[in-house]
Symmetry: C2
Subunit: 388 residues, 2 copies
């Protein structure tokens, strides 16, 4: 089956970088892109859809999200907005609610957030565990996450939970917990931060994960400029995430590596923190990704478009750089070569905006602009079902 | 006909100020609120809807929006984000597109923005002219606006258009243009600002409008701390809008008046400007409203929830203060006593959030949380139809 999309006012392919075709068309053949180019040269197809001048771009790739949990922390958020600082400690309150929740409850919560992500234009998302912090709940978390996405990350090393010694917990994470989770996960992650795990502990966790067949990614330099970015580069992690506090050496290390700097401005927004130095990273030649970091503590948003708007407003990325970071950048942060760009042979994951161009993602903050979505060539409904 | 809404997890009535009822119910009788209180005490009604624990609050009142125009200014926005400052001059490019547009085009554009406002939870919006700046197009603008809302504002004095002398344009605004527009409008407004109209000119425009039966509101102190706020108070304007640059005397004047300070943080967001001193205004006792200022130049967003999130993040309003400003504050800025709060006898304009409380409006920025809406007691569909 082939489908011709015509009437594309602007096709933002992201290949080559920031590539754009005006007055374009695109042919989907089964799950892949079969052809794209100027509308006047489009081949025939089994069916056709006229997009009426809309802008088409790759579906967003959200490479950092914590979506398996129960409860919320709205009151903690409101207290923080009156001046209380964000620390890693609040994670433990979500852990209690998550352990107490049934599989069905966790599944419903994840399904709601996955639907929100789709409505926000996300065609691929990563999903971390890390609110179980015992073998049973971590295993439940990665198993449930794997029902919704192949990009599952084991984050047993989120914080040390109450009731267990630090060294014992690290042994648990690197031993029985990892063993129970590895078959459901593709990635291993660690919160390398003051109040969570230091560089040496983080290295041990990631190396154990690598030995179990997982690939590393790291929560790095969110609250302090520690050694997490250097560790990410040392281990060839796919991504160093947050990068809120970077030294010049960190920027150079990222620019000289295959490790993506994944920036999460919705977290800086919701914690009233300074934004990361995106310009420094981009100007040095590092690859930057944008992701939501949707989680109940430091930033409970699924809005990739708002992350793009913040990147432009607060981090002085151009709209084109921000869209690239939210698509091709996110794909690189997941080491995926089949998504994040629109070229022949790529997976047909794409969105059409109710706007003539992608500038509108930043120009119209907060406005729901994602009009239509195709995932692996199939059109997907974008309505939100009510919270259960 | 009566309708019982049950299962309201939190009813944020805004009366008395920030009033809240946990585990509540509400009865709509025709277009009005017939009863509200604890769920266990609810009377019978013809039909019932269980809201499953959702938060209910008054529909948002957007007291400042420019919605009748053609064209967009995405490229000007992108240039501004690279460092070019915002000035009043860009308005003229929208004027050219608006004059050239058919009534039908203007109607379609307005309908799309009105649908976006509804999807964002707005049950009442104000709509200004000001992109015509000749008698014919200003008259078309207010006439088309009046098809969608009773809160129509004549803003012929937006800027002096090209091709006419300043004094001649003021004569036109206060004479034939006002005469052609007054029957379709409730309000008269002026852009009192460097590059637009000075205090003396603004006073003349507003006094002419008052003489024609309109009530005054003012674009005040957006770019500079001139005398616009003092003029607003002098003329008992319903609202002084923007208030980005305020002197202590301005704050005192507003606090001692019935003039609402309408803050428009989506504009500061989209122009990368400093935010107004909401805390100074609130602590002095002024009434604050939040509105979108949706317009193609300085901020093209219809998202009242994002305005609330910005008020909390950037202006240090509490979530409760921000919701009050977006509901009861907006109603006062339109001198409306029948909307903006939920009490017996008020118009049944209300929304249900896909969230247990209103904190989520700031806690979940960019997420579409408005699940259901009733306007004058009738449920309204919230889907967006595609741009024409």
């Amino acid at each position: 089956m082939s489908l011709l999309l015509t009437g594309i006012g602007l096709l933002a392919t992201q290949d080559p970088e920031l590539g754009e075709i005006v007055d374009a068309a695109l042919v989907i053949e089964d799950a892949r892109i079969g052809w794209l180019g100027r509308a006047g040269q489009a081949p025939a197809a089994d069916t056709a859809v006229d997009l009426g001048g809309r802008c088409v771009l790759p579906g967003f790739v959200d490479s950092h999200a914590h979506l398996v949990f129960a409860g919320d922390r709205a009151a903690e958020f409101a207290a923080r907005m009156t001046g209380r600082p964000y620390t890693a400690g609040g994670i433990r309150s979500t852990v209690a609610a998550t352990r107490a929740a049934s599989d069905e409850r966790l599944r419903l919560n994840l399904a709601r957030l996955a639907a929100e992500l789709r409505a926000a234009g996300v065609t691929t998302f990563e999903c971390k565990s890390g609110y179980g912090l015992d073998v049973e709940t971590e295993q439940r978390s990665v198993r449930i996450a794997a029902e919704q996405t192949p990009e599952v990350t084991f984050l047993g090393a989120h914080v040390v939970p109450a009731g267990i010694e630090r060294a014992d917990y690290l042994d648990l994470v690197c031993g029985p917990m990892l063993a129970a989770c590895a078959e459901h996960a593709r990635w291993v992650d660690v919160f390398c931060e003051r109040g969570a795990f230091d560089v040496s502990e983080s290295r041990a966790v990631l190396q154990a994960g690598i030995a179990a067949g997982l690939r590393p990614r790291i929560h790095a330099n969110q609250l302090t400029a520690g050694g997490a970015v250097a560790l990410a580069v040392e281990l060839d992690a796919a991504s160093a995430d947050h990068c809120t506090h970077l030294s010049p050496a960190d920027i150079d290390a990222l620019a000289g590596s295959d490790t993506v700097a994944t920036l999460l401005p919705l977290v800086e927004f919701s914690t009233r923190s300074p934004y990361p130095d995106a310009r420094g990273l981009l100007d040095a030649g590092a690859t930057v990704a944008l992701a939501t970091d949707c989680n109940p503590g430091s930033g409970f948003s699924t809005s990739m478009p708002l992350a793009i708007a913040l990147a432009v407003r607060e981090m002085r990325m151009t709209p084109a750089e921000a869209v690239y970071a939210a698509t091709a950048g996110g794909a690189k942060a997941l080491r995926r070569t089949d998504i994040g760009r629109l070229t022949v042979g790529m997976r047909a994951d794409l969105i059409a905006l109710d706007a003539p161009g992608y500038l509108h993602l930043a120009y119209r903050p907060g406005v729901p602009l994602v009009a239509r979505m195709w995932q692996a060539g199939q059109e997907v409904a974008l309505g939100l079902s009510p919270t259960q």
